[in-house]
């Protein structure tokens, strides 16, 4: 069973090394690849010096395009399971096995590590929780599938879904859109509880100031996404 961990990295010089080392010590059998999305800090230097496998995108694609590069790489290298994990120290590799298990058992095509299932660990700000709840409700209306932590970037996919994402992955608001895409194309999504930490460095791709704007845009994007996928169904991609 070949397992790849994708770690998107944009200006994470303070945390990327710790993240990769923690991952190596918890799960030495998995491969990892850091996607350096044109960082302007010393990230790439650190990756090079420590012999960490990485892809270096020649121009900044944002989180969606960066993660997709990882899925493309996983597809080309024939990985069976692909896991996505943030490079800012929010996601604890100690939970990797819990996130993996439903895939190994064949219970799901995609597993999302959710911080709200058991409400342990860092629960993020009230405003953000409300926003996530709203998106979660929206996804439930649009797909009939309940997912609590829709913006979690801690997720694992099996081979079929990896190939699907390598071909088409949402670029603008990838986390919630990827869930909708998976559910509407007939993949099963499952959540498992994980604990998340407060980010150790860097900045969120969802900034505080523009969060209202983000919510409006995501809502429209998700509804549009649902409409264009209506009636498609099946694992067609």
């Amino acid at each position: 069973m070949k397992i790849l961990v994708i770690i998107p990295c944009y200006n994470e010089q303070d945390t990327i090394l710790d993240t990769v080392q923690a991952l190596k010590s918890y799960c030495p059998e998995v491969d990892c690849i850091v996607i350096n999305d044109c960082s302007t800090d010393r990230s790439e230097e650190i990756l090079r010096q420590n012999n960490i496998p990485f892809l270096s995108l020649p121009c900044n694609l944002g989180i969606g395009g960066g993660v997709q590069a990882g899925y493309l790489y996983a597809k080309e290298q024939g990985y069976d399971i692909t896991i996505q994990m943030d490079g800012d120290g929010q996601h604890d590799p100690a939970y990797l096995r819990q996130v993996l298990q439903p895939l190994l058992d064949g219970q799901a095509d995609m597993v999302i590590g959710s911080r709200f299932l058991e409400k342990k660990g860092f629960q993020t700000s009230f405003a953000r929780r409300m926003g996530i709840r709203l998106l979660s409700f929206l996804i439930w209306i649009l797909t009939g599938k309940q997912v609590l932590d829709v913006t979690s970037g801690y997720r694992a996919c099996n081979k079929a879904l990896t190939h699907f994402y390598a071909n088409s992955y949402a670029q603008d608001y990838p986390e919630p859109e990827a869930i909708i895409a998976a559910v509407l194309n007939g993949f099963t999504v499952k959540e498992v509880p994980v604990e998340m930490k407060e980010r150790q460095g860097g900045t969120s791709s969802i900034r505080a100031l523009s969060s209202v704007y983000y919510m409006i845009k995501v809502t429209i994007a998700l509804v549009v996404y649902r409409l264009i996928l209506a009636g498609k169904g099946g694992r067609s991609a």
């Binding site: 270096s56 995108l57 121009c59 694609l61 997709q68 080309e76 670029q171």
Partner: protein, 122 residues
Amino acid sequence: MTLELQIWMLLGSLVYLGIIFWMLKTKRLSVRFSIVWLFSAFALVLFAAVPYVVYVLRDILDIQMPSNLVFAMTIGFMLLILLSLSAAVTEFADRIKRLTQTIAILEKRVRELENQSHQDNH
């Protein structure tokens, strides 16, 4: 419509058409994107040369001023062109994204091969 206005309009729309053809000839504009522009230019030339067409259309659509019809159609063309440009940008963004990802994967392979040959030489 006065004859002077008609002459100026005809002249203007012909210059517009000429610019499009010149851009096509010098490859400043691809044929693919020129179709909607050419169409709008031909329509303008037609309206200027044969204003009767505009009058008939005005009567059919029950618009008070013939000029409003020309304005409305111009705006319609602009919307169409803007939409086609957005579609083109989307397509290009998609291609650039794929290229960027492929380059990154190839760069990793090159880097590893270089490291390997470097080690072999020592």
